[in-house]
């Protein structure tokens, strides 16, 4: 997986009822819908690697506006099937975690896995209650040098979401995928392929037959 040639991201636009959003798309395979951080950075290298085995669709919602994550989720759950995306994994990066969580809660029938990288979201009573509604197996990756609040958010996910794996990426800060690209890409690829069974290592331990 990590050796796959990074794919070129192609732009597109999705129009739902009240929403017109730009996205970048690459690769083919099981779809992964990505919400990057609110600064619009798309973690090109990570998405390029994931696109070696998956169809990656990264939405650019950096323009912001007053629309809530739940409203975005409602619109996208209507619009994504028009791109041929009916069931998919959803990944949120930093502040994009709130959008990914909303998607998992609003459209649980569409989401088969949830991935959060350096998650940052307001830990209100409502947000905590929402975590318990997530049905999809979840992977949370947090850097060991991250002091932005992601560690606490990750622990909360681990505690409240029904099936959630919290993994620490050693020597990574908040820009987790930039700091440890291979570590992130490999564990995400394993999780996309095996879901919650990704905790079972399948590499042979035999040295010589």
């Amino acid at each position: 997986m990590a050796d796959a040639t990074p794919a070129e991201m192609k732009p597109g636009t999705l129009e739902a009822d009240g929403l017109r959003v730009h996205y970048l798309e690459a690769g083919s395979g099981e779809p992964v819908v990505v919400f990057p951080d609110r600064d619009g950075e798309l973690f090109d290298s990570l998405l390029g690697k994931l696109a070696g085995c998956n169809r990656v669709i990264a939405f650019d919602l950096s323009a912001g506006g007053t629309i809530t994550p739940r409203d975005v989720a409602a619109e996208l759950s209507q619009g994504l099937p028009r791109l041929g995306v009916d069931r998919y994994a959803v990944m949120g990066v930093a502040h994009g975690a709130a959008l990914a969580l909303a998607q998992a809660i609003v459209a649980p029938e569409q989401i088969d896995k949830l991935i959060l990288l350096s998650p940052r979201f307001a830990q209100s009573a409502e947000a905590v209650a929402n975590l318990a509604q997530v049905k999809a197996p979840t992977l949370v990756l947090v850097g060991t040098r991250d002091t932005s609040g992601s560690v606490e958010a990750g622990r909360l996910c681990r505690e409240k979401i029904r099936v959630c794996h919290l993994s620490f990426v050693y020597d990574a800060g908040q820009a987790i995928a930039a700091d440890r690209l291979e570590a992130c890409a490999d564990s995400i690829a394993d999780f996309l392929e095996q879901g919650e069974q990704f905790i079972i290592f399948r590499e042979s331990q035999m040295i010589r037959p």
Binding site: H165, S167, D171
Partner: protein, 347 residues
């Protein structure tokens, strides 16, 4: 100044073969067993004499130290002494599964009612040969292992670890350590570039078998780096491990030691090319002409004063030296405890 007794658990039988690895056939089975009995007796004596801690360490394939698993000996100690701290200085992380190390130390901490202190090390240069480790990577492996162990002791939820050298998808250590958040942890500063890691992570600094000038240099660097990280180390944050021999008079101490020396380079008994390859990014090994602390009580108190001035707050002293018998070690310990310890408390 606090005084620690470093129990080397050196082989009690006769041995003159400096080869490493030392052939197992040279280990007399009964002498191996006697070693453990004597080492435990010595530990009990150190506790009775008022040493602040007793320490054990990990070395392999040699009669110099018969604790390749320091955890086992430390476990036995926890059930025999109830006062002194038990310092595991220390597990060699490049040779270990760090999660297992975290589990075993947590067990020791609860077994000892919270008296465990630990130093994680990378091993002497030859020890990379024991279970396969790359000498160029041992420092980085050790530092990652320390981070993983600290996480395993403090993380409230099960977690995975995506490291450079370690990869675990399920870590959830029971029991938790009795000490909160975890036992005191030291990190080696024997190589100058290892010092900033200890300071940055707010760990204690452990130094060993180096001259006073190097100790001072390392402690100064540690303090500078700690200041950059926003904290100030206390005296108890710096430990120094060394050989010592105390007798009633300077003359008696000199006579006991004779001309015996310890050459750390020769301990590994390897040719220059092999040693160079194994040294990786380490500092040079020293030849020791005599024990670091050496002489009658007055002379030794003066030497400890200099050590304290250099910034060391805990001494971890081995009473072994080539030519010094077990009985002489006991006498040296007793002399140290009665004539030296009372005078260094206030330093």
């Amino acid at each position: 100044m606090k005084a620690g007794f470093f129990n080397t658990v050196a082989y009690a039988g006769p041995w003159t073969n400096n080869a490493w690895p030392t052939p197992p056939v040279l280990c007399d089975r009964e002498a191996g067993s006697r070693t453990m009995r004597q080492a435990m007796d010595q530990t009990l004596l150190a506790d009775e004499l008022g040493f602040d801690w007793v320490s054990v360490s990990e070395h392999h394939y040699s009669p110099r130290i018969l604790t390749p698993s320091p955890m086992i000996f430390a476990g036995a100690i926890t059930q025999r002494i109830k006062r002194a701290k038990i310092a595991v200085l220390g597990p060699l992380l490049p040779l270990s599964n760090p999660v297992r190390v975290a589990e075993e130390l947590a067990m020791l901490d609860v077994m000892s009612e919270g008296r465990i202190v630990v130093l994680f090390l990378r091993g002497t240069p030859n020890e990379v040969l024991v279970y396969r480790a790359n000498p160029d990577e041992t420092r980085d492996v050790t530092q990652e292992g320390v981070e993983l162990i600290l996480r395993a002791w403090t993380e409230p939820q099960p977690f995975g670890w995506e490291g450079r050298y370690f990869n675990y998808r399920t870590v959830s250590v029971w029991p938790r350590t009795l000490q909160e958040p975890h036992p005191p942890v030291f990190s080696s500063g024997n190589t100058p570039d290892s010092v900033p890691f200890a300071a940055r992570r707010r760990l204690g600094l452990a130094l060993s078998f180096m001259p006073l000038s190097s100790i001072k240099q390392r402690v100064d660097l540690y303090r500078e780096e700690a200041a950059k990280a926003g904290w100030e180390p206390a005296a108890d944050d710096v430990v120094y491990r060394f050989f010592g021999h105390v007798a009633e008079t300077d003359e008696e101490a000199r006579k006991n030691i004779g001309d015996n020396k310890v050459d750390l380079r020769r301990i590994f008994a390897m040719n220059e090319a092999m040693l160079k390859k194994l040294m990786g990014n380490r500092a040079e090994l020293q030849m020791m002409e005599k024990p670091f602390l050496f002489g009658g009580p007055a002379a030794v108190v003066d030497q400890i004063g200099a050590l304290r001035e250099a910034g060391v707050g805990i001494m971890d002293m081995a009473f072994t030296w080539p030519g010094i018998s077990y009985e002489q070690q006991l006498r040296s310990m007793e002399c140290f405890a009665s004539r030296v310890i009372p005078q260094i408390r206030a330093l």
